[in-house]
Amino acid sequence: METGRRATLTPEMFEPVGMDAQEGERIAGPPSNFWRDAWRRLKRNKVALFGLVSIVFVIAAAYVGPLISGYGPYAQDLSVRLQGSSSEHWFGTDSFGRDLFTRVWQGTQISLYIAFLAAFIDIAIGIGYGAISAYYGGWIDSVMQRIIEILVGIPNLVVVILVMIILQPGILTITFALVITGWVGMARLVRGQVMQLKEEEFFLAARSLGAGTGRLIWKHLIPNIVAIAIINLMFTIPNAIFFEAFLSFIGLGITVPQASLGSLVSDGYKFLQGDSYLLWFPAGVLCLLMISFNLLADGLRDALDPRMKK
């Protein structure tokens, strides 16, 4: 047995197969990039995916709902006041006989509109301010940071209420009030990021190769802060939805006959004893929206920036 095996080993068996230097470099799959990786990580996160799906669902419902209900959001019909859910009025009717289903989705549209608008303006100002402050540094940075330091000390509750008192209430006023203080957080975040990026080698390399200020900012800084901006955006939106609803609830928000989720909750609360469905339907949509955005934001943070897991 022993000898038999030894006999089968011949020198021919040890010939080199010949290695191709290129073979090891061959890319097996399609190339991945940052966004594809992030999407892959997000897809694995079932909870975040649930958030994404339900946000898409709510947005779709907000725009389709009023169209298929067959009622106008402001159309009153006093003969059908305060009726519970029925096949005619899916969410019932309010004290003016208006169709609650239509009003809830119409209100969702307005809430979403305010939240998205405020969040995007926040991000735009925040990125601009933060990037300029960090990029130029020196006394410009000092002055800009002192301004921020003071703004941070003034809580948005105070500012928002003061603004709402002097300006005419309405969608744009609420957005404006939210933006005044909202951008500060983003500006601080971007400044911190840019300060870090400025010390990186790729940035030094780009500068040594003679890249101008515009190119440095647009090609090297902005792409590197997009992820953090998106994460911040996703946390800003539910915050804005909450604040708009809060303002409407304490009587500083949307004016009648327009409605937002907050003002519908506020109106419905008055009927808590008898016709509580007027409260539960808008409150349910509001909570679903808030939960979904928070879940998606958490998931996105883990997916886009695994280091930032907090």
Binding site: Q145, E149, I150, V152, G153, I154, P155, L157, V158, I161, L162, I165, I166, R188, G192, P238, F242, A245, F246, F249, I250, G251, L252, G262, V265, S266, Y269, L272, Q273, S276, L279, A283, L286, C287, M290, I291, F293, N294, L295, D298, K309, K310
Partner: protein
């Protein structure tokens, strides 16, 4: 440390100064005068304006306003029988403070417990429960949670009084409704910090030298996780005040939040401004305490002069 504290103090005072100035100019921008009564003749109006100094130049009015405010005089409320704003505020403060304090205590302890359990039983049923509670607590606004509790606990089950503030029992539901937000924030924070601390070498050492599991958790893990919790003092105070506006309104509690919302509804401007400045002082003090506490604990912040 002294230099750092002084710097924070200067910023705090400056912030208050700006808020007071802004409120003054907002008062000027408001339409009409306090004497918009149809029954008043022009002559009587002029007399009243002269009496209250409203016909003085803006600079004089501004100086008087700032001087008054520095002495705690915010003017008189139109709605509440022309009584001084400060008096009403101070009269109502204990109720709000009690409610806020109770909510804070409940929130911090429950939140910490949830966070600690979540971290110790990482990636188990308990951890998921703690996370779900945290997400719900942040997502469900107090003005939805309040009515929800009133409806089920108050009306349907009849366990607790629905509104007003007559006994300690009346404070249970509003306190819980207020504390949910605190629970959520603290639980989240505590869980993350604990997970980080539990991975440290000194925890392994503590275990290796034979400390009991409870000893390791209490004496080493929890203690070290607590330090960064200071950074959430300010957001918590702001959150509690924001929550109190609606919670006091919903539960008909005679606190500052309810007062503020009523003042907005009846356009009682001196009351609104007084309360706003009152809140601003509260927030600025909270931020100051947070910054100084953090400076004491983390020397790096003192040196760089501010946190990033």
């Amino acid at each position: 440390m002294l230099r750092y504290t002084a710097r924070r103090l200067v910023i705090a005072v400056f912030t208050l100064f700006i808020i007071a100035t802004v409120t003054f100019f907002i008062m000027q921008l408001l339409p009409g005068t306090p004497f918009n009564d149809e029954k008043l003749s022009d002559e009587a109006k002029a007399q009243l304006e002269a009496k209250y100094g409203l016909d003085d130049p803006l600079v004089v009015q501004y100086a008087r306003y700032m001087a008054n405010m520095a002495q705690g005089d915010f003017g008189n409320s139109f709605y509440y029988n022309n009584t001084p704003v400060l008096g009403i505020l101070l009269g109502r403060f204990p109720v709000s403070a009690f409610l806020g304090f109770q909510a804070m205590v409940v929130g911090v302890f429950v939140g910490m417990a949830l966070g600690i359990v979540g971290a110790l039983k990482h990636n188990t049923f308990w951890d998921s429960t703690a996370t779900v509670v945290a997400v719900l607590g942040i997502s469900i606004p107090s003005f939805v949670l309040g009515p929800l509790m009133q409806y089920w606990v108050g009306v349907k089950l009849g366990w607790l009084p629905i509104a007003f503030f007559d006994s300690w029992k009346h404070s249970i539901m509003p306190s819980i409704a207020l504390s949910v937000f605190v629970i959520a924030i603290i639980a989240r924070f505590m869980r993350t910090e604990m997970l980080e601390v539990l991975a440290q070498d000194y925890i392994t050492l503590a275990k290796a030298k034979g400390l009991s599991a409870l000893g390791v958790v209490l004496r080493h893990a929890v203690r070290n996780s607590l330090i960064p919790v200071i950074t959430v003092i300010f957001p918590l105070v702001v959150g509690l005040v924001t929550g109190s506006l609606v919670i006091e309104q919903i539960f008909a509690i005679p606190g500052i939040g309810e007062l503020f919302v009523t003042s907005i509804v009846v356009s009682d401007y001196f009351m609104i401004m007084g309360t706003t400045v009152f809140f601003a002082v509260l927030f600025v003090v909270a931020l100051l305490i947070q910054d100084i506490a953090y400076g004491i604990i983390d020397p790096r912040i003192r040196v760089s002069g501010g946190k990033e």
